[in-house]
Point group: C2
Chain length 348, copies 2
């Protein structure tokens, strides 16, 4: 090893869900939305000439559209390159204590990756046997708290009263509620940001708005939190959101009818698909998201995962304690899910 | 102050160059390219339906196009959201020593911002009275080195032999050569990446490729450096490059004739404009970039800056030691630069 290698930050890199090339696969492995973005987005001709100019560093048009949509003042909204960027910035901005931050043992697989990379101490708290987060466990010394609601990859929604309990019992640290999937079920913690100044609510355009390819995420909280986030963001990369993201993001927010219609379609398909899985003998956790988390009594998940892949259906399998007999299956169109059910039936 | 504020990372945020809205201004303040991207980019219809899918986390198509263009293997290329993202990731990955990193006192204004935010110790080394970097100054204990070549905001190019001296005298640390402006003049350090495994060369699409609005930057170096960068990138945000950036970036790289033609036009206008400035009594530093750095003997730069702004021409003024009597003026079209000269003449 050369001497220059001594000072390199060495991390075990996160492995993203497979993004296969080619069109012959039914891709149900990364919780994408089958319907594509609003027709308003599709009609938009990209103003290529404007690409020569830097984007607005504050992405003001997008911030304004999001703020208006949620009935907030603009100083309560922060935008970033997907909710991953927003969350990573939030970890960097808010989690600087010597005490460990807390998150569930079964949760979004990026939390421990960010903590490791940013050298933030952390402690994971086990979800219960029904895979639910236990609010009272979070009533202990910590340097901050983060959890998704609904949780991933379980899909389980925690009632708002429980979120309130966690936030209110931890007034001295920042509590981040990662609501990547909230549009598919459950009540948002957004209603509490006036009441709790230590609460940050994070959202994404990648799931319910069908724009994973554009990378747009945002956070909402009190103006002091948003200011600190922006200070760090401007110190890291002033121009993170590119012009297509800002322009097309605004158009997506403005087309609420299309948004609601496609979210309803996904929910309808999810319920139909969950019923189909149960008929095949699967245990299906109650999902409030655009995916289901399911386990079969007789056939190991790994086997089903491999078999489905060979038959052109990609789902997600996590080789991790407690969940290594589950499949996470994203909700596509009714037709795609029927094919998925047929393939699973064949494998059982 | 609430208790939760104690653990917040507090930084003095970077203030980006002004991005005014409205079209009546001649904007010469942030080194954008007047010509717009390749017609190939303009003709491309954005595949909006594909926006529902995550981008390729490795941005393989773009990496392949860049590698092919420079005659490198693909494992020697790293891409990011503008060279700011690439440089910030590089600071985070490579600058983890207790010894200070080194960079010039007059240089890109983001280096100290990143160092402060990432808590990296640093030392600035003064450029000489001709505003040139002095290579032998960098022959001292350090935790890494970074400098732009050509330097900004001076525009001065350092001969490759001097770059070689700095890199070869510092084999135990990573040396980053930030070549944001190299296409407008000077020889690239790229020719030395085989010879020096501690050398990283960084580029951007924002200047010579006229795509500041899209945010594309890249780094080239030995495969071990690129691997470490990717590990950190995947641990921070797997999907940073969005689909429009990847698709349109490839098209830009492929249209080399347009690229060379517009770069030549900018260089031609720069020389013409520099001559005009000298006729007005300005001292103009020798520029190898798409901007000039100029000072007038009689009228203070601040006064010229304000007067030009009032007359619809925005240039950049830095209220910093040693350079507070200079203007940095980006090169626009010949017509824009003629207007700029006329306005300056009026103000003198």
């Amino acid at each position: 090893m050369s001497n220059w290698e001594n000072n390199i930050r060495k991390v075990v890199p996160y492995v993203p869900g497979e993004q296969p090339k080619g069109n012959n696969l039914i891709k149900l492995n990364t919780n994408e939305n089958p319907y594509g973005p609003s027709p308003k987005v599709k009609e938009k001709a990209l103003a290529a000439d404007a690409l020569r100019l830097y984007p607005d560093p504050a992405a003001s048009d997008l911030v304004a559209a999001i703020a208006k949509y949620h009935g907030l003042s603009e100083d309560r909204v922060f935008v970033g390159v997907g909710s991953d960027d927003v969350l990573a910035m939030s970890f960097m901005t808010f989690f600087n204590s010597d005490k460990p931050i807390l998150f569930p043992d079964i949760t979004y697989s990026f939390y421990d990756v960010w903590a490791d990379m940013l050298r933030i101490p952390y402690e994971t708290l086990p979800v219960n046997d029904a895979f639910e987060i236990v609010p009272e466990d979070y009533n202990k010394q910590n340097g901050g708290i983060v959890f998704p609601n609904p949780n991933a990859p379980t899909g389980i929604y925690m009632p708002l009263a429980s979120v309130r309990e966690i936030v209110s019992k931890n007034p001295d640290v920042i509590v981040i509620v990662d609501e990547a999937y909230i549009d598919f079920g459950g009540e948002s913690a957004l209603s509490m940001i006036d009441e709790f100044e230590n609460l940050l609510v994070v959202r994404t355009f990648s799931k319910s708005r069908s724009m994973a390819g554009l990378r747009i995420g945002y956070a909402m909280g009190n103006p002091v939190l948003i200011k600190y986030l922006n200070d760090v963001k401007y110190s890291y990369n002033s121009y993170t959101m590119n012009r297509p993201s800002i322009e097309l993001g605004v158009l997506s927010i403005q087309d609420d009818a299309y948004f609601k219609e496609t979210v309803e379609k996904v929910i309808h398909t999810r319920e139909r698909f969950s019923a189909g899985l149960k008929e095949l003998g699967f245990t299906v956790l109650p999902s409030s998201t655009n995916f289901v988390f399911a386990s079969h009594k007789k056939v190991p998940a790994r086997e089903l995962f491999t078999g489905a892949r060979e038959r052109g259906v990609i789902v997600r399998y996590f080789d991790k304690p407690r969940i290594d007999n589950f499949l996470r299956i994203s909700i596509g169109t009714d037709e795609e899910m029927d094919t998925c059910l047929a393939v699973l039936k064949e494998l059982l």
